[in-house]
């Protein structure tokens, strides 16, 4: 997703000189094309996330569309007050871009894990949250981000996420049906789709065929639409994020407010395992976010 982001943003920026790519001195090899093609729309701010974010807000206040790029923990937690005060409260159209969302930088240690970002960002007024699951969704949300001049948070996997296009060729909106089915719904956000699809294979063997939905836009409207699809059904939410305040929490809150009859369960990361190190796949296994666990959890929810 990281590479498709850089590629697609470049295409958009060629036609729209207000688009700026600002990096906090990260993105080795990924941002080179952009930097070389559009040097006047590329800024390496250095290692100064707080000032970088306020600077981006100042630029946005004058009509620019800055995309502030860094490894997930840096452009979020490190400069949270700058996002709150200068971006969100001021309603400046800055897009915060987190790379390696979830455990994408698993081996680098928990300083680099980005597993509380949805909870934190969605608490902020005016912030729109985008969590694409593959390259097609990256393109979709980039265009969506640019339609409105509002703050945005874009949560991207580090790379190598399976493209869901081979399974689902339909055009999509805020919700994207990946697999059709009548036996309840599994909804996921971000790059965890592959494990969900593997779980579907296991469920099929037991004769259970849930609908699979990717949710690249985390808004009240998209969650409402999801709940409408899930009326009288079971719903399992899957996210590479801690459960408190995350995607599944959004669904539960909305379901409670709407009096939804949907039976909901969640699966995500384990807060007791935050200090574990290893590759993304190893850590997902350790956290119990496996296709087998998704299979078991859905099966017990459904039956």
């Amino acid at each position: 997703m990281r590479n498709s982001f850089a590629k697609e943003l470049l295409k958009l920026a060629i036609d729209d000189p207000s688009i700026l790519l600002i990096t906090g001195d990260l993105g080795f090899g990924v941002l080179d094309d952009f930097a070389q093609t559009l040097p006047n729309q590329y800024i390496n701010s250095g290692i100064n996330e707080q000032s970088m974010m306020s600077m981006a807000a100042g630029l946005a206040s004058r009509g620019y569309r800055p995309f502030v790029y860094s490894i997930g923990n840096f452009p979020t937690f490190r400069c949270l007050e700058q996002i709150r005060n200068d971006v969100c409260y001021m309603d400046n159209a800055v897009t915060v871009v987190s790379i390696g969302a979830g455990l994408g930088y698993g081996n680098l240690g928990y300083s680099h894990h980005t597993i509380e970002d949805i909870s934190v960002m969605r608490a902020l007024p005016n912030m729109r949250i985008f969590s694409p699951g593959d390259s097609d969704e990256v393109l979709f949300v980039l265009n969506k981000i640019l339609v409105d001049t509002k703050p945005a948070y874009l949560r991207l996997g580090k790379g190598g996420e399976k493209n869901l296009n081979s399974i689902c060729k339909d055009s999509f909106s805020d919700l994207r049906e990946i697999i059709s089915g009548d036996d309840g719904v599994i909804a996921f956000t971000g790059g965890i789709g592959t494990r969900v699809l593997d779980a579907i294979e296991l469920l099929k063997k037991d004769g259970i065929e849930p609908k699979v939905i990717s949710v690249p836009v985390l808004s009240d409207n998209s969650i409402l639409s999801l709940l409408n699809i899930c009326q009288n059904k079971v719903l399992l939410t899957v996210e590479e994020h801690l459960l408190k305040g995350g995607f599944g929490s959004m669904v539960l809150e909305m379901a409670a407010e709407q009096g939804s009859d949907c039976k909901i369960s969640r699966i995500g990361l384990d807060p007791n395992l935050i200090s574990k190190l290893g590759s993304q796949q190893f850590l997902l296994d350790e956290h119990g976010l496996t296709s087998v666990a998704i299979f078991q959890k859905f099966k017990s929810l459904y039956t």
Binding site: N48, Q50, S51, S54, M55, S61, R62, E81, N85
Partner: protein, 264 residues
């Protein structure tokens, strides 16, 4: 239009009244920057309804809101009668400057260390657009404790923002004590010089010195304005207490009498 001296005198009178009526803190900080703001808004800034054809001004020391709003009113930028609502329920004029409902406030502040990097972004936008307009940021000296101040000091030089000017209100008192007793800032001018800013030291209550320094366009410029916290009211001057305390009725009358007598 009132002269900067008139604006400053009227603003001091308004600010002490506002602080007293609203039982608001930070009157010392307001009195300290009134001359700086009076010169800026009267003699320096070119402001229209269109941001593209205006200079930009960020009040990073947002706690000096009574002083800021007073100067805005007496220099014709906001209605005078609006000052009466200061600190009242539902008012757009609160204890830290807020943009909402106040078109002349470009950035809501109150948390220190936001104004310079935000202003840096505006200055960068102006530079990218080939604009001749400038960006000014008024900061407190205590604010130089913030890391973003020095991040921005590096960045403004790197991006060669000749159109960016900051004015440090060097009143030497921060929240609990003197700046040098808290986290020593000196040698402050040398620090900004080392970051390759053009540093100009002025008496922050001399309108002619302020004006001359603010007209320096070969920036980034750091004007260190030596000021007196509580300037104009002898019992408030250089006292930490008046960072917090609103004047009571007697103190207000004494303050008004003194400001009028000294014609400050």
């Amino acid at each position: 239009m009132n002269s900067s001296i008139d604006v400053a005198l009227r603003s001091r009178l308004s600010a002490v009244k506002m602080a007293s009526l609203a039982k608001a803190s930070h009157i010392g900080s307001s009195l300290s920057i009134i001359d700086i703001l009076a010169v800026l808004y009267t003699d320096i800034l070119s402001i229209t309804e269109n941001a593209e054809t205006s200079d930009s001004i960020i009040i990073s020391k947002g706690h000096a809101s009574a002083g800021t709003y007073s100067v805005l009113a007496h220099s014709g930028h906001i209605p005078l009668e609006l000052l009466e609502s200061y600190g009242q329920d539902g008012s757009t004029l609160g204890g830290h400057v807020t943009h909402s409902g106040n078109p002349r406030i470009e950035l809501s502040t109150g948390s220190l260390g936001h104004g310079i990097p935000y202003g840096l972004g505006i200055a960068l936008a102006q530079k990218k657009n080939g604009s001749n307009f400038r960006t000014f940021v008024v900061v407190s000296d205590g604010e130089c404790d913030e890391g973003t101040t020095w991040e921005s000091a590096l960045m403004a030089n790197h991006f060669q923002l000749s159109n960016l000017t900051i004015i440090i209100d060097r009143n030497r008192i921060q929240s609990l004590s003197g700046t040098e007793n808290t986290i020593a800032l000196e040698p402050l001018a040398e620090k900004w010089s080392a970051f390759k800013w053009k540093v100009i030291n002025v008496n922050g209550h001399s309108h002619s010195e302020l004006k001359e320094a603010m007209n320096e366009k070969n920036g980034p410029v750091c004007i260190i304005a030596e000021t007196i916290k509580g300037k104009g009211v002898s019992f408030m001057e250089n006292e930490v207490l008046w960072h917090y305390r609103p004047p009571n009725e007697d103190e207000l009358l004494a303050a008004i009498k003194e400001i009028k007598k000294n014609n400050l």
